[in-house]
């Protein structure tokens, strides 16, 4: 527990406090009166209102669209399933710049819908909502699906044998078991859409602004630190409230589940109904996820292979890069790898600490106190906070705090993986924790009684069970870092751009070749992500050694 706490103290709490302090502290101490001033402004209230309702709508829509997908990918067995699972995750890691461009090509002027039916959705809320579903589909499929695949179908069958209707069995057996995962997924989607920035900027036009976009505007463009600080605190409070509610739901619902190996639970679809469901889900995936991606790929090949060839010149983009853009791929992979290891280490330790039986968390006196329970819960929430705190705030916080030895990291390459790990850790925790908590404590007790050390218990009992969840988490952390654009962008670094940054730079320059190269690089980014995720799909951690 010490390492994760220290990590968060140094790379999260300290920078964020510093930047907020710049805005709210004068020589006469904290100026909390500014809170009221800012919150009374009508433009700020507009921003708050829009942020909240679009996030709620996006979350509802995402759950509606993605839950059938989660079921299909968890319970049905069909050729190409692994590929499909990797494919649905790709959108999640694409830089918002690319997604915005792709969506404009579908929804915007002269886009597909425009040509087919004369429908244009750009600069409407619908474009924003659809793009949010596009991004977060994977969150639901992987978080919920990961657990769904491991639920023992025999429980539901037993309920049926005992006379429950199909719906009843599902409602009484499966749903309660899934609830924590669904809640976790919904929470994540809500957090992402609540703090949405790039998508809103590109697709919403000037009319819509989220809190995150407003914080960016106040800090980076207007240098109005007091207002930015107040908005950061508001976002903090909102996220804190969401997390508190979430923690309560999860605690109420937490059941010990009998988890089985995922490989055994999937079956080929049977009967017209199941085939129809599979068909519907596939159609949704094609229309919503593959179509925008397809448009990107199509545009990248407009010049034959010319755009791809151009990527290998150091002079590409008219000297936008001192290195060939292709090298950005290597940079991105290195950063992502480092960030993944960091996130797994910190997140894994944190999740383990959170599942320790309360008696192990001796709060001095050696007996369990309510304080210890509160401590654990507080820690749990703390780990989630980076998801909800604006990347802008963290980036600027880094800038003004990490500027003296031993922490003079501002221009160091490690800063990028650190910032990315900060966002990756919550994923790891959220993915691993439900599974860890679902492990029957009696197994651990039995092992302990038989003389195993806590470390050995964890290795022999927990690790095999959570191995898959860890892999999924690693995939998420890796993918998040690969496409992470927010925090990375705010960190000045020597000229070794990551893929998303390279894409943004190319898009920011005029000329056909630059535009084409941006599309080509986006396509490469997609493929790299898909391959990385596909490899993870192939790895199985059970001992039967099947691949």
């Amino acid at each position: 527990m010490a390492l994760p706490v220290a990590f968060f103290a140094v790379f999260f709490a300290y920078p964020v406090t510093a930047i907020v302090g710049r805005g709210l502290r004068t020589d006469d101490g904290w100026q909390l009166g500014r809170l009221g001033d800012v919150l009374g402004r009508p433009d700020v209230l507009d921003v708050l209102w829009f942020t909240t309702w679009q996030a709620l709508a996006s979350t509802a829509l995402t759950l509606l669209v993605a839950l059938p997908g989660a079921y299909v990918l968890a319970r049905f067995d069909f050729p190409g399933k692994g590929l499909l699972r990797a494919v649905v995750t790709v959108p999640f890691v694409l830089p918002t710049v690319v997604v915005g461009t792709a969506f404009l090509a579908v929804l915007g002027r002269g886009g597909l819908l425009d040509e087919l039916w004369g429908v244009r959705l750009d600069t409407t809320v619908w474009a924003i909502l659809l793009a949010h579903v596009f991004f977060n589909y994977a969150v639901v499929v992987r978080t919920v699906g990961g657990l769904w695949a491991q639920l023992d179908p025999r429980q539901e069958e037993a309920a049926r044998v005992l006379g429950a209707s199909r719906l009843g069995a599902w409602r009484r057996v499966t749903l309660p078991a899934l609830a924590p995962a669904v809640a976790a997924a919904a929470l994540m989607v809500f957090l992402f859409t609540y703090t949405s920035f790039g998508i809103v900027q590109i697709l919403g036009g000037p009319a819509y602004r989220t809190l995150e976009a407003e914080i960016y505007r106040q800090t980076a463009q207007l240098l109005d630190l007091p207002t930015a600080a107040v908005l950061t605190l508001v976002q903090f409070a909102a996220v804190g409230a969401i997390l508190a509610v979430h923690a309560r739901t999860v605690r109420r619902r937490e059941a010990e589940l009998a988890l089985v190996d995922a490989a055994g639970t999937a079956r080929r679809p049977r009967g017209a109904g199941q085939w129809a469901l599979l068909g519907t889900v596939l159609a949704t995936i094609v229309l919503l996820l593959l179509l925008p991606l397809g448009v990107l790929v199509e545009r990248s090949f407009d010049g034959g292979l010319g755009y791809y060839r151009a990527l290998q010149d150091a002079g590409a983009g008219g000297g936008t890069f001192l290195v060939p853009p292709v090298e950005a791929i290597g940079n991105s992979l290195e950063y992502a790898l480092a960030a993944t290891v960091l996130a797994l280490l910190i997140g894994g330790l944190a999740a383990a600490a959170l599942t320790l039986p309360p008696s192990r968390l001796r709060s001095g006196g050696g007996t369990r106190t309510p304080a210890a329970g509160r401590l654990v819960r507080g820690f749990d929430a703390l780990l989630m906070l980076p998801l909800g705190v604006s990347a802008v705030t963290v980036g600027f916080g880094f800038l003004i705090t990490l500027d003296e030895p031993p922490l003079d990291l501002r221009s160091s390459w490690i800063l990028v993986p650190l910032a990315q790990a900060l966002v990756g850790v919550p994923f790891v925790v959220r993915t691993v924790l439900p599974v860890l908590r679902a492990v029957d404590a009696r197994l651990r007790e039995a092992a302990a009684v038989l003389g195993a050390s806590p470390w050995r218990v964890w290795r022999e009992v927990d690790l095999p069970m959570v191995g898959r969840a860890l892999l999924v988490a690693a995939g998420f952390a890796f993918a998040v870092s690969l496409g992470e654009f927010g925090a990375t962008v705010f960190i000045a670094r020597p000229d070794d751009p990551t893929l998303p940054v390279a894409v943004a730079r190319l898009l920011g320059r005029p000329g056909e070749l630059n535009y084409g190269q941006a599309m080509a690089l986006s396509t490469i980014l997609m493929v790299v992500c898909a391959v990385a995720l596909l490899l993870l799909e192939r790895v199985r951690v059970d001992r039967s050694g099947e691949l």
């Binding site: 390492l3 220290a6 103290a9 140094v10 300290y14 461009t101 404009l104 090509a105 002027r109 002269g110 886009g111 900027q201 036009g205 000037p206 505007r217 800090t219 980076a220 463009q221 240098l223 545009r299 407009d302 010049g303 010319g306 002079g315 008219g318 000297g319 936008t320 001192l322 290195e334 790898l337 480092a338 290891v341 960091l342 003004i400 500027d403 003296e404 030895p405 031993p406 922490l407 003079d408 990291l409 501002r410 221009s411 390459w413 490690i414 993986p417 650190l418 962008v489 705010f490 000045a492 020597p494 000229d495 898009l507 920011g508 005029p510 000329g511 056909e512 070749l513 630059n514 535009y515």
Partner: protein, 364 residues
């Protein structure tokens, strides 16, 4: 805060240990933080659009023995604001890329040390906006102007607009796309251009006319130019339907440079009566670790070698009178005789108010 420090050191050790493990076997030529002796490198902090040919940067190393490390720090406004935030503990030695719209903010916050560059006599006094103190040195100029799609106007036998007045005429209804001045520097330049042309009050009436004439506002130059504008390569692909866009005087040569095959004539032209001049400056950061190297770098930035490299790297004009423009620019670029300007102090004083007024006028 000693406990924080202790924790920090512990965490850092752990983090670095981990990252070293992961970096094993990868040939990472990355600078591990504040490594390297200060006297051997000089760090240039700039915005994302900064570019220079590797050969030219090597030339600097040959002359001085110093290696240039470039830190790109976001868009122009963001980069300046970061320099203000890190005042006294700067991220590098020299800052390049503060333009006349942001100059006052930088100077008022005192982020630059005075330094009179060698070779300043080759630079017109008109662009030396801090002549008295030399806290900043002008490096390049560029014009923000309306670009037009030649083919669109030729097909309709319509004369392209040339002035701000023209843009508000019924003949050009629903043709212009501009950027939001709040979020985009060309957008701000265009707004300032109208303020210079019509005066403190008159610009509002002008924008009312533009709005009535169907001006479209988008957030970024990328969207305006590569999606909405019918004359650019990206816009043609996206089936952009606006033949007029706010961009730069140097955009037409760029359209030629990056087209395959290169056309004999640029597909776009410049409405030369709609231009606002931007000048970019460099300055020595207060608290620089390598001030002598920083001074040498500023000298180099206005030296002929770098000045002649800039046009095709950043699509801007050199300020030095002895620097030759590349043929691409002389052939396809536009001569802007009288670009509009606004004094930096006035921009600092009025900008936020103008932008707010503009927003309520145009976006509501």
């Amino acid at each position: 805060m000693s406990t924080t420090r202790k924790i920090a050191v512990g965490t850092l050790a752990a983090a670095l240990g981990v990252s070293t493990l992961t970096a094993c076997g990868t040939d990472s030529g990355k600078d591990a933080g504040a490594g390297g002796t200060a006297s051997k490198t000089v760090t240039l902090v700039s915005h994302d659009s900064f570019n220079a040919s590797p050969a030219v940067l090597k030339e600097f190393t040959r002359q001085t023995g110093l290696t240039v490390k470039v830190l790109k720090s976001g868009d122009a406004g963001e980069a300046v604001n970061k320099a203000v935030l890190t005042k006294g503990a700067p991220q590098g030695d020299v800052f390049f890329g503060v333009d006349n719209t942001l100059l006052s903010r930088a100077l008022d916050n005192g982020i630059f040390e005075p330094y009179e560059a060698k070779g300043l006599d080759r630079i017109p006094e008109a662009v030396q906006l801090d002549k008295g103190e030399h806290r900043v040195t002008p490096v390049d100029t560029g014009e923000i102007c309306v670009n037009y799609d030649k083919k669109y106007f030729a097909d309709r036998k319509l004369v392209p607009p040339q002035t701000f007045d023209d843009l508000a005429k019924p003949a050009y209804k629903d043709l212009l796309v501009v950027e939001n001045p709040e979020r985009s520097s060309p957008g701000l330049g265009f707004l300032l251009g109208t303020a210079a042309r019509y005066g403190d009050e008159g610009w509002q009436d002008y924008w009312k006319k533009l709005k009535a004439n169907g001006v479209k506002v988008v957030d970024s130059w990328e969207l305006a130019y590569n999606q909405e504008f019918s004359g650019s390569a990206g816009g043609r692909k996206a089936k952009g339907d606006r033949p007029l866009v706010v961009s730069y005087a140097s955009s037409p040569p760029v359209e030629v440079l990056y087209a395959e095959p290169q056309p004999a004539e640029a597909p776009t032209g410049v409405s030369t009566g709609t231009c606002f001049q931007q000048t970019e400056f460099a300055g020595l950061l207060t608290g620089a670790k390598n001030p002598d190297g920083g001074k040498a770098l500023i000298d180099f930035l206005i030296g002929r070698k770098f000045q002649e490299d800039m046009p095709l790297q950043m699509f801007v004009n050199p300020v030095a009178e002895d620097a030759q423009l590349p043929e691409l620019f002389t052939k396809h670029g536009a001569e802007v005789d009288r670009p509009y300007t606004v004094a930096p102090a006035k921009i600092a004083e009025k900008r936020d108010q103008w932008i707010q007024t503009w927003s309520s006028l145009v976006l509501k």
